[in-house]
């Protein structure tokens, strides 16, 4: 008779994830039972509180990492701790942007232009479902980089993706574009998920196991059918590369970044990238490491194409959100070089880069959301001319964040770039180093063009102005700029901490 073993869930380690899920459920209850008037403020309070408690719970697990939880389907190690921490901090900064709820559709289900929509707008209804949706997405993101079996990985992927699909369609203005973005994101995302699942099936067929450790030992055993392994790795990679927005799976990025409400774009661009790259790092470093000679050339090619393509296409963009979208594609290419490096420096560098880039991205999109005219946000770059004269502080902050993206010294982006390229070169990858540096030079061009527009061009008088940021948006921008400065001038403590903490439990 087989004995039934009770599954062991290590609640202490799962706490941050469970807290965020709990907060999301409370949010749903508030949505159902609380009076409409008080929802907006109570939802924000719950969301922020949830994230703070989750962060505190995460900090308490310091030192107990290097343990497996939930029957080895989640592995909690130093790298997982850092990635979860990054996601929570970025989410905490980004969620404040949702507080400006006049950016979201009053009645998301109403057909754009219908009477129902007009009534909802007239009644000044504010949408607040976005908070629990965001928390669900964050929970998925927290699981994604610590999942160590393929099923958990897939569940996390869906948990983080589904709310994002919805959130993309919630813009108050230009609703058709927003809904188009949501649909595009959903359809392409579903397609990528299917690929991912297909790959999972092949990997199971290859290794007779769904855990990362099982796949790794099957690879090192080397007796199974290599074709299955290659198909599995390729298809799983397709799903992951879609999420990080690498060429040729990037086509959703510009449209979704542009169509989504800017606050959602900020969250999505920053936090999703951390989660997706976190998962990618883990699966490639832990499960597929033994097969590096097969996948490295392919991934190198993709990284090189991604860097060059993102930088080149960004030059021709006339819309600031699309430009940031293509710049995020280029950055995905830079980040892939950390995955390819497959060494300790590559892991450390990727984590540092992800955090620095995520924080700067949130700040940049927060500033984008401030530039408005009477009909809503102005994202046409030509109309940004002369903003430096009218709002020197906001424009200077944006310029500074752009310099961080460009990797100018004394910004966090510079150390990120230095670290990740030196890791890539350390693994012997000269091609990545040279392409990376050259595409950084190309990328500098379009970042500087925006600075020129803001500071050296005279403004066109068409009603474009920078609204006075609300206290929440202000906190977001200040936090983002401050972290970028500190990491640019004095990154040593964080670098040291990452270096001694980051490691994967295999």
């Amino acid at each position: 008779m087989t004995t039934f073993t009770l599954p062991v869930l290590n609640y202490g380690i799962l706490a941050p994830i469970l807290i965020v899920l709990g907060g999301a459920l409370i949010g749903v209850l508030v949505e159902a039972f609380a009076p409409r008037k008080s929802r907006s403020s109570s939802q924000l309070f719950i969301a922020v509180l949830t994230l703070v408690i989750a962060l505190a719970a995460l900090l308490r697990t310091r030192g107990v990492y290097s343990t497996k939880a939930a029957m080895s389907s989640i592995t909690f190690d130093g790298a997982g701790f850092l990635l979860q921490g990054s996601i929570l901090i970025i989410a905490l900064i980004a969620i404040l942007l949702l507080a400006d709820s006049d950016k979201f559709a009053a009645a998301p289900t109403a057909v754009p232009g219908s009477d129902e929509e007009r009534q909802a707008q007239a009644a000044n209804i504010r949408v607040t479902e976005i908070y629990p949706l965001t928390l669900f997405a964050i929970a998925g993101m927290l699981i994604f980089p610590v999942a160590t079996d393929l099923i958990t990985l897939f569940v996390a992927l869906e948990v983080l993706s589904l709310p994002l699909y919805l959130m993309a369609g919630l813009a108050r203005r230009r609703r058709l574009a927003s809904q188009e973005a949501a649909l595009k994101y959903f359809l392409l995302g579903a397609f990528a998920s299917a690929f991912f699942l297909f790959g999972v099936a092949y990997l199971y067929g290859y290794s007779d196991s769904i855990t990362f450790a099982g796949i790794a030992s099957a690879i090192s055993g080397g007796s199974a059918n290599d074709v299955f392994l290659l198909i599995g790795i390729s298809f799983v990679s397709v799903g992951l590369l879609f999420k990080v927005g690498a060429v040729p799976f990037h086509s959703w990025t510009p449209d979704v970044y542009q169509g989504s409400p800017t606050a959602v774009t900020a969250f999505m661009a920053a936090a999703t990238k951390v989660a997706a790259f976190g998962a990618m790092l883990r699966i490639f470093y832990v499960a597929f490491a033994g097969d590096v000679w097969q996948w490295r050339p392919l991934l190198t090619t993709i990284a090189i194409i991604t860097m060059v393509f993102g930088s080149l296409v960004a030059i021709s963009q006339r819309d600031v959100k699309r430009m940031l979208a293509y710049s995020s594609i280029a950055h995905a290419g830079f980040l892939l070089s950390g995955v390819i490096a497959l060494n300790k420096a590559g892991l450390d560098a990727s984590i540092f880069y992800l955090f620095a880039y995520g924080v700067a991205t949130v700040g940049a999109f927060a500033i984008v959301s401030l530039v408005t005219d009477s009909s809503g946000e102005v994202t046409d770059l030509n109309r940004w001319a002369g903003l430096g004269k009218r709002s020197p502080w906001i424009a200077s902050s944006f310029a500074f964040l752009l310099l961080a993206f460009a990797g100018i010294p004394l910004t966090s982006g510079f150390f990120g770039k230095f670290y990740i390229f030196s890791a890539a070169y350390e693994s012997g990858n000269t091609a990545i180093l040279i392409t990376g540096v050259l595409s950084s030079a190309i990328a500098a061009f379009f970042y500087i063009r925006v600075i020129v527009l803001m500071f050296f061009k005279d403004s066109v008088d068409d009603g474009t102005s920078i609204v006075i940021p609300s206290i929440y948006t202000r906190i977001t921008i200040i936090a983002s700029v401050a972290i970028t400065v500190v990491l640019g001038v004095f990154p040593a403590p964080l670098l040291d901490y990452i270096a001694e903490t980051a490691s994967f439990l295999r």
């Binding site: 010294p409 150390f415 070169y425 350390e426 180093l433 540096v437 950084s440 030079a441 500071f455 061009k457």
Partner: protein, 506 residues
């Protein structure tokens, strides 16, 4: 309190902070504080320099604090004779520029305050870039100093200032990123050979463990960056535009100090870290220098705009400096460093007087001037002396350095020295033609009412001319400081000075 290099570097920053805290309306006080700060820095540096031991070939005034231990980056400062002379030049030019361009800041896009904050921040970086003995620290200053200069050109210049500023920045960034690739290469190679380091003394011993190809590639990354900065033909096209569009003061700092970072970098990094690659590329670089000397001179002869003319003459002079550096004799090496110092002052004099002429006349076209000798004798004489210094008239400081470069080059590369001598002939043309057209001859219409230099302008130009004349007769103090360092550089390269030979001199 003991004056250290760090304290000297912090002084301008402190001044910038004080200015930042001042009310914007008090422009005169802002200017006075800026002037007082730069004078204080100059005095402190000169006092410090008096303690320099000219017998000692090692780096002096060394300081080292750990900055980012995980990358082995130190805040390491120190000077040898070459760096000391260049720092002296920078700190003496800074107050001169501020005093000479007392009203330059008022026609700018932003206020007076911003102008002086940018100048002071730039001064900190100018000292830092020459004093850094850590390659990474050097790179940080090298790149970060682009940003204040970019805003100084684009915000306070005239004409196509924004375009010129962008051209300057993109050229420099491109070069800088190539250098970053080489720095990453060195970092990784040093890691594979006994631990990561950026210390230039340690790096100069690394060449024994690099293959010839690696050395050549890394050398090119550095050299192209420095050749753009210097600028050497064919990387020079940004300079005339930038020099024409910037204010006279900014042009002085740009040509007088920033461009020297290029030639200084060649000595400090190209030569000492890659001796073998230097030998490989020396013939090519000597050819490029000769082209620069002649090409710059021809362009200067044809120039119609007085600011562009000065920029072209600088291209020619930088050809001489590079020739001196790569001739690999002690005389040429000392001459090149002295040349850098002298070029700083003669260009400063030329630019400042040209700037005054242009502001008074409202035009910088040479043809618009005529007969200034009679109307504004002091201004005309100042221009004349500066021009004579630029063509290296015996008795003025440039003569000493140009002579040393030519003599030093002749002992190793006689043909190159002979070709370079034509540059002197052409120099007479490009200086005497504008002198004759603008200063002598009949007074042309529009020039009758020009005012001569006022007291402030006389005080500003006096020290520059004094230095030009005094060092022409007595260059020994500087040469005493430079010679040991120059000899050190040459002997490190494995060269010894060729003994003079006498054929048939019975």
């Amino acid at each position: 309190m003991k004056i250290t290099l760090t304290i000297i570097m912090l002084l301008p920053l402190l001044g910038a902070l004080i200015i930042a805290a001042m009310p914007a309306a008090k422009t005169t006080l802002v200017k006075q504080i800026a002037l007082a700060t730069t004078v204080l820095v100059a005095v402190a540096t000169i006092v410090k320099a008096l303690g320099f031991n000219t017998e000692n070939t090692a780096l002096q005034f060394r300081q080292s604090y750990s900055w980012i231990p995980s990358f082995a980056i130190n805040w390491a400062l120190g000077v040898d004779g070459i760096a000391l002379v260049l720092i002296l030049m920078s700190v003496i030019l800074a107050p001169v520029v501020i005093l000479a361009g007392w009203n330059e800041s008022e026609g700018g896009r932003w206020g007076v305050k911003t102008f002086y904050i940018l100048i002071l921040v730039l001064e900190t970086m100018m000292i830092g870039v020459f004093a850094a003995t850590d390659l990474f620290l050097f790179y940080v200053f090298f790149e970060a100093m682009l940003i204040p200069v970019y805003f100084l050109i684009g915000g306070y210049g005239s004409g196509e200032r924004a375009a010129a500023a962008v051209k300057f920045l993109l050229y420099s960034l491109f070069g800088g990123l190539l250098m970053l690739a080489s720095i990453i290469g060195l970092y990784v190679i040093s890691g594979n050979n006994g631990g990561h380091t950026f210390d230039i003394t340690a790096l100069s011993e690394l060449h024994t463990s690099m293959s010839g190809t690696t050395q050549n590639i890394l050398f090119l990354g550095f050299f192209i960056a420095f050749a753009i900065k210097a600028p050497l033909w064919p990387f020079h096209t940004w300079l005339p535009d930038a020099a024409k569009s910037a204010t006279a003061g900014t042009s002085v700092l740009l040509l007088g100090v920033l461009d020297k970072v290029g030639t200084y970098g060649m000595i400090r990094f190209c030569l000492s870290i890659f001796p073998d690659a230097t030998k490989t590329f020396t013939p090519l670089i000597i050819v490029l220098s000769l082209i620069s000397i002649l090409y710059g001179a021809f362009l200067a002869i044809g120039a119609k705009d007085i600011k562009r003319l000065i920029a072209y003459t600088s291209i020619s002079h930088f050809g001489f400096i590079t020739l001196g550096i790569f001739a690999m004799t002690t005389q040429a090496q000392s001459g090149a460093t002295l040349y850098m110092f002298n070029h700083g002052f003669s260009t400063a004099a030329l630019f400042l007087v040209a700037g005054w002429m242009a502001t008074r006349r409202g035009s910088s076209t040479i043809a618009d001037f005529g007969g200034l000798q009679r109307i504004t004798p002091i201004m005309a004489w100042s221009f004349f002396i500066a021009g004579m210094s630029s063509l290296a008239l015996p008795g003025l400081s440039s003569f000493v350095s140009e002579f040393l470069v030519l003599v030093g080059t002749y002992t190793r590369y006689p043909v190159a020295a002979i070709i370079a001598t034509f540059g002197i002939v052409l120099a007479a043309l490009y200086v005497l033609i504008p002198v004759q057209r603008a200063l002598h001859g009949p007074t042309t219409p529009g020039n009758e009412d020009l005012k001569d230099l006022n007291l402030r302008e006389k005080v500003a130009i006096a020290p520059v001319i004094a230095i030009i004349v005094v060092l022409g007769f007595y260059p020994a103090p500087l040469l005493n400081a430079i010679n040991p360092a120059a000899a050190q550089v040459v002997s490190q390269m494995g060269y010894s000075d060729p003994a003079p030979t006498m054929n048939g001199g019975k």
